[in-house]
C-alpha cells in the first residue's frame, strides 16, 4: 500500500491509500478520516471516507492548502496503528433479480454498453466465467457484503464482497454513463455492488431491484424517521433473492409502515476474517438468524 496525496482544486485534498481495493485500504482510510475528525482542525468543512481513499474539504481562507496537507500527513501515522475492527450491524436486503424495471432501462441504453446484444446480467455472468445467469445470481447473494463507502448520490452504499479476491465479481462500468437508473436498482461496477438510493444517472451494470427504501428525505418510512439516510460505512449486507410476489408484498408493507429490515449487531474483525473467511461469514449470517 502506497499512500498518495493530491490537491483537488484549492478546496480539497484527496488521499489515496492504495490504487487497488482491499479491506486493508478501507480500514486505513476510515482510521485517518476519524483521526482528522478528532483533530478538529480549524477550516475543515467535510471529511469523506471512501473505499480505498478519503477526501478532506477545507476553507483555504482559514488554513493554507500546504498547511492542511502537512497536518494530514502527520495524522497518517496515528491511523497506521489503529486496530482493524469495528462493531457494526448486518442487514438483510431483499433483491428481485432480473426485474422488469431495470430490464426496460438497460434496453434503452444498449448503445452505451460493452455488449449491446446481451443483458447486463448475461454479460456479467459471461465475463466472470459463470455458465448461467442463475449461477451468477447465486454467487452475488450467497456471501455477505461490506459497505465500504456511502455516496455518489443521497445515501447510496458501495458494497464490497466478503470473499477471496479470486472469487470476487468484477465488471466494467457502462462505456458512457446512463442518464437514467430506476430507484433502488442493485448495480455493479468494478468490484463493487451498489444500491441506487434515488432515480438518476449511473454507470453501473444493473442486476435487480430492492423493495427496501434506503433514503427518504420526507422521513415517512418507519425505519428512516431518525435520519433520512439508512447506510453508513462498515455496515454488512446480506442480499436475499425474492420473487415478484414477495417484492410486491414488501413494497406494500413499506407503504403501510409495517416493514422493518432484518438486522443484528455484530463485530467485524479484519484479521479474523482474513484467517477464516467462510467461517467469519457464517457467524455473521448466523447473527441475522438469531434475531
Amino acid at each position: 500500500m502506497k499512500t498518495r496525496y493530491t490537491f483537488g482544486g484549492d478546496e480539497h485534498i484527496f488521499v489515496e491509500m492504495d490504487d487497488e481495493m482491499s479491506l486493508e485500504a478501507f480500514f486505513k482510510a476510515i482510521a485517518i478520516s476519524r483521526a482528522v475528525q478528532a483533530a478538529n482542525i480549524d477550516g475543515v468543512t467535510e471529511i469523506l471516507p471512501a473505499n480505498a481513499s478519503f477526501e478532506v474539504r477545507f476553507n483555504p481562507d482559514i488554513i493554507h492548502p500546504d498547511d492542511m496537507m502537512a497536518r494530514l500527513k502527520e495524522l497518517e501515522g496515528t491511523a497506521n496503528t489503529a486496530e482493524p475492527r469495528m462493531t457494526t450491524r448486518i442487514i438483510e436486503v431483499p433483491v428481485y433479480y432480473q426485474d422488469p424495471w431495470t430490464h426496460e432501462t438497460l434496453m434503452r441504453f444498449r448503445e452505451r454498453h460493452q455488449d449491446p446484444s446481451a443483458t447486463d446480467l448475461e454479460y456479467a455472468a459471461r465475463i466472470n466465467g459463470y455458465d448461467s445467469v442463475e449461477a451468477f445470481i447465486e454467487a452475488h447473494h450467497a456471501q455477505p457484503w461490506f459497505v465500504s463507502m456511502v455516496g455518489f448520490v443521497s445515501g447510496l452504499p458501495f458494497l464490497y464482497q466478503l470473499v477471496e479476491r479470486e472469487k470476487q465479481i468484477e465488471v466494467p462500468k457502462y462505456l458512457r454513463p446512463r442518464t437514467d437508473t430506476p430507484k433502488l436498482t442493485v448495480g455493479y461496477g468494478g468490484c463493487f455492488s451498489c444500491i441506487y438510493s434515488v432515480r438518476g444517472a449511473g454507470g453501473y451494470q444493473m442486476f435487480g431491484i430492492t423493495p427496501m427504501p434506503i433514503y427518504d428525505p420526507q422521513q415517512k418510512v418507519s425505519y428512516l424517521k431518525d435520519f433520512m439516510v439508512f447506510f453508513r460505512p462498515g455496515d454488512i449486507v446480506k442480499f436475499a433473492p425474492v420473487d415478484r410476489e414477495t417484492y410486491d408484498r414488501i413494497v406494500a408493507e413499506v407503504e403501510a409502515g409495517t416493514f422493518t429490515p432484518r438486522m443484528a449487531e455484530v463485530t467485524f474483525d479484519l484479521d479474523a476474517f482474513n484467517a477464516d473467511m467462510r467461517g467469519t461469514n457464517a457467524r455473521l449470517m448466523e447473527a441475522l438468524n438469531d434475531n
Binding site: 483537488g8 484549492d10 471512501a50 481513499s53 448520490v153 458501495f158 468484477e170 462500468k173 420526507q218
Partner: protein, 324 residues
C-alpha cells in the same frame, strides 16, 4: 404573504448558499450555481447574502406578488418586465401588491437570480432551503417550482433603491476561460493529452445542469498504459470508486470532460484530471450549451489569488451598496 407562480419557467428552483456537511453521505452542498449573482441580488434588496432566491435557467418564471415589496434580478441578461414595463437588472425596484413580474428571451448567460425582500421562506432541510432535485430535498417538496405554487416571503431586512454600477460586474469573456489546477489522477493521461487539454478549444455540450457540465470538441485522451488495479474496472478511465471534489473534471472513456458543479455526485469510478478553481465555479453557472471554453492551467498560488480577488470584489460591492 406569498408570491404566486403563474408560469414556472424551464427549471426554476429555490436556492441559497447551500448545505455543506453532508457530502460524505452523498448529499451535495447545492445552492446557487452562480453564488456571486445570488449574493449581489440579496444585497440589493437588503437581505442577508445567503437568503433564498429563485434560480431560473434559460427562461424566467412569471410571478404575482401578494404584498408590496422590493425585488432585484441578477445573473444572466434577460429582459425584466413588471406589469409589462422594463426594469433594470442588478438594480432593486419596488413592486406593488398584485403586480406581475415576467421575463423576455435570454440574451447572455444562463441563470437569473430573483431576490425578494425577506427572501423565500420555505422550510429549511439539513440547514438550507436549497432545492436538490435528485435527492428530492429542500425547496418545495424537493422539486422545481410549479404553476400555482405559493412561495412564502420572509420578513424584509433593509430594502431600498440600490443599483450595481457596470464597472463592478464581471467582464464578459468569449471564449470563457476556466482556470484549472491539475491533480487527482492527472498522471493517468499522456503528456501529449495533458498539453492538448489546455491547448484545444471546447464547447459546452447539451448535458449541462446543476450536477455537472459536459464539454466536447477536444481530441480523445490517451492513457498512460497500466494494468488496471483490482476493483477499478477494465476501462482505462476507471478507478476504484473514490470521492469527487466540487469542480473536479472527470473524463469517462477519455472523451468528454465533465466538471462537477453544486449538485455534484460525491464519488464514483471515473478518473479525474484536476479541478476548476473555486473562484471560477460561478462562471460555469452562466454558460449555455455551445459556449466556447478554454481550460487554463494554473498553480495553487494563482488559485488562491483569484479567490482573494473574488472576495475583494464582493467586499467592494458590499461597501458600495451599503452606502446607497
Amino acid at each position: 404573504m406569498t408570491i404566486k407562480v403563474l408560469k414556472a419557467g424551464l427549471s426554476t428552483t429555490i436556492q441559497d448558499l447551500g448545505r455543506p456537511g453532508y457530502f460524505h453521505l452523498g448529499i451535495p452542498e447545492g445552492g446557487a450555481m452562480d453564488r456571486f449573482a445570488l449574493r449581489v441580488a440579496n444585497m440589493l434588496v437588503g437581505n442577508d447574502e445567503g437568503a433564498a432566491c429563485l434560480e431560473a435557467v434559460f427562461m424566467g418564471p412569471e410571478l404575482e406578488f401578494e404584498r408590496d415589496t422590493w425585488v432585484a434580478v441578477t445573473g444572466a441578461t434577460m429582459p425584466i418586465l413588471l406589469d409589462g414595463e422594463t426594469r433594470d437588472g442588478w438594480t432593486s425596484f419596488p413592486v406593488k401588491a398584485g403586480q406581475v413580474l415576467s421575463f423576455g428571451f435570454l440574451k447572455t448567460g444562463a441563470r437569473i437570480y430573483i431576490a425578494v425582500a425577506g427572501g423565500i421562506d420555505t422550510p429549511v432541510q439539513l440547514g438550507s432551503r436549497s432545492t436538490y432535485v435528485i435527492g428530492a430535498l429542500g425547496g418545495i417538496d424537493g422539486r422545481p417550482v410549479a404553476v400555482s405554487d405559493m412561495l412564502p416571503m420572509g420578513t424584509p431586512g433593509k430594502p431600498g433603491q440600490r443599483a450595481l454600477s457596470a464597472d463592478l460586474l464581471r467582464p464578459a469573456q468569449n471564449p470563457v476561460e476556466l482556470r484549472v489546477l491539475p491533480g487527482l489522477y492527472w498522471h493517468r493521461i499522456t503528456e501529449a493529452s495533458q498539453e492538448r487539454f489546455f491547448a484545444e478549444e471546447w464547447t459546452v455540450a447539451p448535458e449541462a445542469d446543476r450536477m455537472g457540465y459536459r464539454f466536447r470538441g477536444g481530441t480523445p485522451m490517451e492513457f498512460v498504459p497500466r494494468e488496471q488495479p483490482f476493483g477499478a474496472g477494465s476501462d482505462p478511465s476507471n478507478i476504484v470508486d473514490g470521492c469527487y471534489a466540487y469542480g473536479s473534471i472527470q473524463v469517462p472513456g477519455g472523451t468528454e470532460p465533465i466538471v462537477l458543479h453544486r449538485d455534484a455526485v460525491s464519488g464514483g469510478g471515473y478518473f479525474t484530471i484536476g479541478a476548476v478553481i473555486s473562484a471560477d465555479m460561478d462562471l460555469i453557472g452562466q454558460m449555455q450549451p455551445n459556449t466556447r471554453v478554454r481550460f487554463v492551467k494554473v498553480d495553487m498560488e494563482t488559485a488562491l489569488n483569484a479567490r482573494k480577488a473574488r472576495r475583494e470584489r464582493l467586499e467592494t460591492i458590499r461597501n458600495t451598496l451599503a452606502a446607497q
